[in-house]
Symmetry: C2
Subunit: 503 residues, 2 copies
């Protein structure tokens, strides 16, 4: 209760069940949460139980669910399992949610994360009924100390009719002061420049504004974030990291960057962690990060002294990483800045800073179009997230992946991407454990030659070269030679046989 500084709001403390009862069938609910951090952990399970009971009684009860990005099993998992979600935006990585989406049971809108807050504010998605936001505490004036992610919380609190808070004592009170909540955004025609010129500039305030009259309920919790362990760095990831570090060293030698590089953006996952580890062992000094997630590799880089600061919208730590983060918080407080996603992912800022963007992929085609989201063109993995915000506006845009998946049954390099998230114009460097293709300035056919030679796995290289040679000989046009009768045949073969390789 001492985390609720605003006296009158203490009267609104209630149980998770009571808070869940404030959400009505058909409501659009904006919840906090971004990559397993800072999502509400008590109300969603209570809501799921309530909806289970309604369904058992034959009543219809589903909600539209908006978040910052992915959340945890208590939120997306529990609500998906209860068939409680009719519509979901802008990102999901929960396995239960993914399965329901891919069965066609949840309407899922996979969005550029930078589009979410402005488009909701612009009224393009209808009214937001309820915001359910996890916070670290409530101040005397009713303003809110954010938790371990910021995401779209500012927008949810502003746009929702009513606000329900989870005050989570698991979050260290020393988080206060780390956040940078910018209230200078506006709807057109009233927008002005975002006053940021360095990745670690602070341009906002440390808390969310919140009208206490809108707070319909408060639930007290003490529950950990979903913190997913990372697997140890494998040889393939280490090879990718080595190729990237070598390439960056080359760019520094060419005078295209200084020793501190340019602000780093790194996606989530084991390859990304390996790259951060490679940077830690590199000779670069004085680096900064401007990214949307802070994962363990970033902590290591901060600890090494080579990374001066990290701007992010969320933490995304392993259980050990979380422990280290709390233990070192007095030091990290000055180096880590947690921003709203509308700023962490804003094209204006990303292009101005000249970010070095590194993101994973499901597949790349020989011309360098990237599929980040849909396996075989149809089955969603997670979502595009912020990769489009960063890749198109980056100084250098890398896409990285092992060259095969499923034990070699899937080639990451394919004749034609079965779905496109990043067009060839937004992709400057592709890296697999086989090699690095620097695509800057190359026309499509030169790109194809580089990608096949440098990035493809040997098991698939001849097949790609054969396809490309025949396409060059017989395509409808030779700017980007494709043979539509077979450009997706590798995907079809995988669907039929479970292996892209001919039997």
């Amino acid at each position: 209760m001492e985390r609720i500084g605003h006296r009158a709001l203490r009267d609104r403390v209630m149980s998770a069940d009571e808070a869940a009862a404030l959400i009505r069938p058909g409501d659009t609910v904006g919840m906090s949460g971004f990559t397993g951090s800072g999502y509400p952990k008590a109300i969603p399970p209570a809501l799921a139980a309530r909806i289970d009971a309604a369904h058992a009684a034959g009543e219809a009860f589903r909600i539209k669910l908006w978040t910052g990005a992915s959340t945890g099993p208590e939120l997306d998992g529990a609500l998906s399992r209860a068939d409680a979600v009719e519509y979901r935006l802008p990102y999901n990585s929960d396995p239960v949610g993914r399965e329901k989406i891919n069965r066609g049971e949840i309407d899922y809108l996979d969005m550029h994360l930078s589009h979410v807050a402005p488009m909701v504010w612009e009224g393009f998605f209808g009214k937001l009924d309820v915001a359910v936001i996890e916070v670290t505490g409530i101040k005397e004036d009713g303003s809110l100390i954010p938790a371990t992610s910021v995401g779209n919380n500012k927008t949810w609190i502003e746009c929702a009719d009513k606000v329900i808070l989870e005050v989570n004592a698991w979050h260290d009170m020393r988080l206060e002061g780390m956040h940078d909540i910018y209230y200078g955004t506006a709807l057109p025609p009233n927008r002005v420049p975002i006053p940021m010129t360095h990745a670690d500039d602070r341009i906002g305030q440390t808390t969310f504004r919140c009208d206490p009259a809108k707070v319909a309920g408060i639930v007290l919790t003490d529950l950990p974030d979903r913190n997913t362990p990372f697997t140890p760095i494998d040889d393939g990831s280490r090879a990718i990291a080595g190729l990237i570090v070598d390439f960056l060293e080359h760019e520094v030698r060419m005078g295209r960057m200084g020793e501190g590089l340019l602000p780093l953006q790194s996606g989530v996952g084991n390859v990304a962690n390996a790259v951060l580890d490679g940077l830690r062992k590199s000779r670069f000094e004085g680096m900064r990060a401007y990214t949307e997630v802070l994962q363990d590799g970033m902590l290591d880089l901060l600890d090494s002294g080579k990374l001066l600061s990290c701007s992010t919208t969320a933490l995304s730590l392993s259980p050990e990483g979380a422990k280290r983060f709390w233990a070192g918080l007095d030091d990290y407080r000055d180096k880590v800045i947690l921003r709203t996603t509308e700023i962490s992912n804003h094209p204006e800022v990303i292009r101005r800073l000249g970010v070095i963007s590194m993101n994973g992929m499901i597949e790349a085609d020989i011309y360098g179009n990237i599929n980040s989201t849909l396996v075989m063109g149809s089955r969603i993995m997670n979502g595009i997230g912020g990769s489009g915000d960063f890749a198109r506006n980056a100084y250098l845009s890398f896409f990285v992946s092992p060259s095969t998946a499923k034990g070699g049954k899937i080639s990451t390099i394919v004749p034609q991407a079965s779905h496109v998230d990043h067009i060839t114009q937004d992709v400057q460097v592709i890296v697999t454990e086989q090699g690095l293709a620097d695509l800057r300035g190359l026309s499509p056919k030169k790109r194809a030659e580089a990608i096949i030679a440098k990035c493809a796995h040997p098991d698939y290289r001849d097949g790609l070269q054969d396809y490309y040679d025949r396409a060059r000989a017989g395509a409808y046009g030779l700017q980007t030679p494709q043979l539509p009768s077979e450009s997706l045949s590798w995907h079809q073969r995988f669907i039929e046989t479970g292996d892209m390789r001919p039997g």
Copy 2:
């Protein structure tokens, strides 16, 4: 000669042949020109003749050619015909150039126009040897009065080892003062906010800086821009325009825009002209444009008083439009602003202003992915131009086209786009003469239902619905159901039979 105010530079006046002789085999040459305006008209034909002679003598002679965007027959046409172009960026609409590109004889890099100036400056494409720039005049201090397009001229002049100028007396000297050349851009980490908050803000100077010591030659000309006539507005284009105006009226009623709308961006072509005509006849008042081309329809809108100003990087007028423009120049001078492409197409400015973006397309698939460039996935039409800069950052992003092409043999709506320039996340509204699909907030399957029902031509609607129904029943995943064994079969059928319809 009186257009050369800088006395010493008068000594560098030479013939086009002499100027062409300053360009060496293998040079990278940055020429002015954007949509048929402001491109050099004397040196390129002289260079083509010189290269023809070299080729006849068995000598190798080709150049790498960079421009703002498309040019005219004297430039892209003459040089392409002479097999003078080894490499071309960032855009081509010349028929001879297109044919050579599609035969694989010119390496063509089709780029986001906003990427060109920064990436050249960053050194990603190698050294620029020569700039060949058409101007209206040279001032006493050596600064240059731009012509009817700005494009990348500022960057070419800054980056090239030597500069050759064509001073074209066809351009009215009253152009001076209309241009806004912003010198505040920088390489990261030194970039700062672009100080623009309204479409018609002036933030730069009226002339190009140019070191007179770099000027290697000056050619005096009096030659018209390539000004292409528009065809009269047909019923299909009028229908599309009507649907867009109705939709915008709806948005104003919903309070999502004021009566002056938000700054308009409109691509080139007859459909775009029809939309501008529709806006002229609408009830909207106090509009502004923030676009990359000013075509006849914009002049009409300016004349009507409903459009207050037009920011652009180039004029793109019909011969009659050009006459009107010169005749009305005293009035247009205050309303038309000609900017560098790095500013006219800058994502920072486009997103801040909240532009209403309207671009043409070759095809859209049922999920709303757009192909703007490659017919049947292989054969280049023109290029992506600025459409990606605008669509992703727009307040509202429209893609428009008649629902069929080639007399009904090609459907604009297809099961899967044979190439993707604009991913579904960047496409909010699709319009054909059949109807308008408002895709905001819709998940992929809901998008498919809307696009098939609203936009497809009746000849193709059942086929699309049949494909979609079967994909929903049997795809590998149901987020974006596709059947890779047949999703490109319509394109294959067209390649084989010349008709997407089953025989």
